[in-house]
Amino acid sequence: MTATPTKTPVSRPAPPAHKAAGGTRKRRGSKQSLAVWLFLLPAALLGLYFKFIPMFEGVRLSLFKVQPFLGDIFVGFENYAKVLGDQRFMEALGHTIFLGVTQTLGALLVGFVLALLLEGQARSLWFLRTAIFLPVVTALAVVGEIWRILYFPTADGPLNSILGWLGLGPLQFLNGTDTALWSIAVVGIWSGAPYNMVIILAGLTGVDRSLYESAGVDGATVWQRLRYITLPALRPSLVIVLTLAAIRSLRSFTEVYVLTGGGPAGSTEVWMTRMYSLGFQRNDIGVASAAAVLLLVVTLLLTVGTQYLAKRKADR
């Protein structure tokens, strides 16, 4: 057991030896904390300059009619009113929520199944896991271009050829107003599931093997083992996966931008693409910033809400 140094009251002088030892420790402590701060400083400064200041600048801009050269004009919450009163934004919100729910649940389910299938120490499994993880580390713009080719909407398109062998199709995929959003959701699931798989795999390693053996002895079915052992043990991992996936889905941009540009007929326009076209194609930075702040607020609420629900469930 180590003795913790106690702070000597100012009124009572401490014995010299004690004082010397205490002083040395204190100096060492302050040097250590200074070192910690020095190590932290570069990252903190970078984060501050490239993340937090732009974020606050975005909040500021959302209250102005932005004219960088002439000087901004304060308009209060007018930009927010414009966003909330814009039918296109509301439609985009619907599409964003649809994509958020389908991609989050889809990627979670597929990631979970992949993790269960690929858990183990064999070299072949390691190779498979690496191969399946590739979509995560591939640039989304490249992924989008590849899927655009796969989705080619004629009978001789790669996916339509497969459907043709099954006596189905051809489908319009990205070119159909009813199918475009689903097609984008599939791309999101395909590129998001392996990431979830890795987190769930990490969670699975923490499950006590003896529980499975005991359950086996007691005659539990595979489903019961999943339901009563695996899933409860995975709760922390699932909370992380759900939170990250929900945030990622709300910020969907690249796949939509690359695959459809928001079309056809606006059927795949999401919050971020609408924001982008307002900010960078129409130069309406104020309204685009207001939309960005609203997205930030929703993301924050969603994150805090997910954490709160998970904590309450864990406490019960």
Partner: protein, 443 residues
């Protein structure tokens, strides 16, 4: 943690916030900051990719050799975004060369200085109609014409001849040719894998509104009607515009007349259909000559005069202007740069000095495009520009109108069974009027 250390850390964080905030510069003021001469070489920005930048670089090298005036040139592909960044720091580049359509946006943002037309040497060699396109809402010139071009129709000549069809003279002919290319196996490979027209039908950057404008004009319609004095009204729901949009919709809804995926294709996705021999008709700018001459090959495609609609064969004209920014205090150097760029030497250098012409059709009437390029196809472009072309209004910020048109048309053509042309254009009419009001340009 030791309280002194904690205090120091807080001070450090506070100082870094303060310095970073100062660096990001959140100033605001009622008017453009005063221009000052920093003594550096004149800074010129142009929206240019790698190939175009080589031409600019060669052109300015020649200019410096002639005049001794040094130029700091930057080819910036995402010019408008970069300009916003520079605008925020209250120091724009001295000269910007960009689309003529950017004028309304730039004047609204206070980026530009007025141009005294009479001070430009050789201003009389530039057509009045081109100078007219550089006028802002107040009637003053805010740019100098530098280059112009029109959209041209290019057709797979070998396919057309193989099927024994004539050069299309009307929009009906063009539609029939597109159907023939899609259904009669013009490449002779025994498979139904060819299409009629290449269409960038995406809403991204307003592509569909841009592509369809020529066909709408050809039927006598338009998005906007110029009421004079910088005022406009919407013309989107007129019978003529409905006729033009109906023709466009017919192409999207006749299987094979447009390439697959046209509804979501930007030009970068659409053009390869023509290059790879999958589609036989494309309406595009002459800047594509150089790449199409390589594939599908110069001898297999032809450049034709635009087919006629029910009214005429108007095509979209576009171009680049030279803009002098509000930050520019280098009067003498600026004059020398402008005088050179619109001179015969400058225009010719812009056409031939690098990998890609940055002056497509010269604005200087003493320069003949077909002769300089030694290519009769440029005569088609030059002739169309002179007698049957129209530009989008540049005094107002046209970007939102093009975007609204693309979004409305994309909705109309995406739903083939629906009888939605009139209702869709009525919605566009409302959107255009709202935008005109917000730009204070409604008649």
């Amino acid at each position: 943690m030791d309280s002194k250390i904690r205090f120091r850390a807080r001070v450090a964080v506070a100082l870094s916030i303060a310095s970073a905030a100062a660096l990001t510069g959140c100033g605001s003021g009622p008017s453009a900051p005063a221009a000052t001469d920093d003594g550096q070489p004149i800074e010129v920005w142009a929206r240019a990719g790698t190939d175009a930048a080589t031409t600019y670089a060669a052109m300015f090298k020649e200019f410096t050799a002639k005049t001794g005036v040094k130029v700091n040139f930057q080819g910036v592909p995402d010019l408008d975004q970069q300009l916003q960044t520079r605008a925020a720091s209250k120091k724009l580049p001295d000269i910007v060369i960009n689309d003529s359509a950017a004028l309304g946006n730039y004047t609204a943002q206070g980026y530009l200085q007025k141009i005294d037309r009479s001070s430009v040497t050789g201003s009389d060699r530039i057509a009045d109609s081109l100078w007219k396109e550089t006028e802002g809402l107040d009637g003053a010139s805010y740019g100098v014409p530098f280059s112009r071009q029109t959209m041209v129709t290019m057709i797979r000549k070998d396919w057309r001849e193989k099927l024994g069809l004539p050069v299309p003279k009307t929009l009906e002919d063009l539609a029939k040719l597109a159907t023939a290319f899609a259904t009669q196996d013009p490449d002779g490979n025994g498979q139904a894998d060819t299409y009629g027209m290449v269409v960038p039908g995406s809403t991204e950057r307003g592509y569909l509104g841009w592509w369809a404008s020529s066909y709408i004009w050809q039927d006598g319609g338009s998005y906007l009607k110029d009421e004079g004095n910088g005022k406009y009204s919407s013309n989107a729901s007129s019978p003529e515009t409905q006729a033009g949009v109906s023709w466009v919709k017919q192409q999207f809804c006749t299987p094979g007349n447009t390439q697959p995926g046209a509804l979501t294709a930007a030009t970068s996705v659409a053009s390869p259909f023509f290059q790879t021999g999958k589609a036989g008709i494309i309406l595009t700018g002459p800047y594509n000559f150089s790449s199409f001459d390589k594939t599908p090959g110069k001898d297999v495609y032809e450049v034709i005069e635009a087919p006629k609609g029910s009214k005429d064969n108007t095509v979209l004209a576009e171009g680049e202007n030279i803009y002098v920014t509000a930050s520019n205090a280098k009067k003498d150097q600026t004059k020398q740069v402008i005088d050179y760029l619109v001179s015969q030497d400058g225009q010719k250098a812009g056409m031939t000095a690098g990998k890609q012409p940055i002056v497509r059709v010269p604005v200087n009437s003493d320069v003949d495009a077909a002769a300089v390029y030694n290519d009769p196809r440029w005569s088609v472009v030059q002739e169309a520009l002179k007698s049957s072309s129209k530009a989008f209004p540049s005094a107002i910020n046209f970007v939102p109108f093009r975007q609204a048109a693309a979004e409305a048309l994309n909705k109309i053509v995406a739903d083939c069974p629906a009888d939605n042309v009139a209702s869709g254009l009525q919605a566009l009419d409302t959107a255009i009027n709202d935008e005109l009001n917000s730009q204070n340009a409604k008649s």
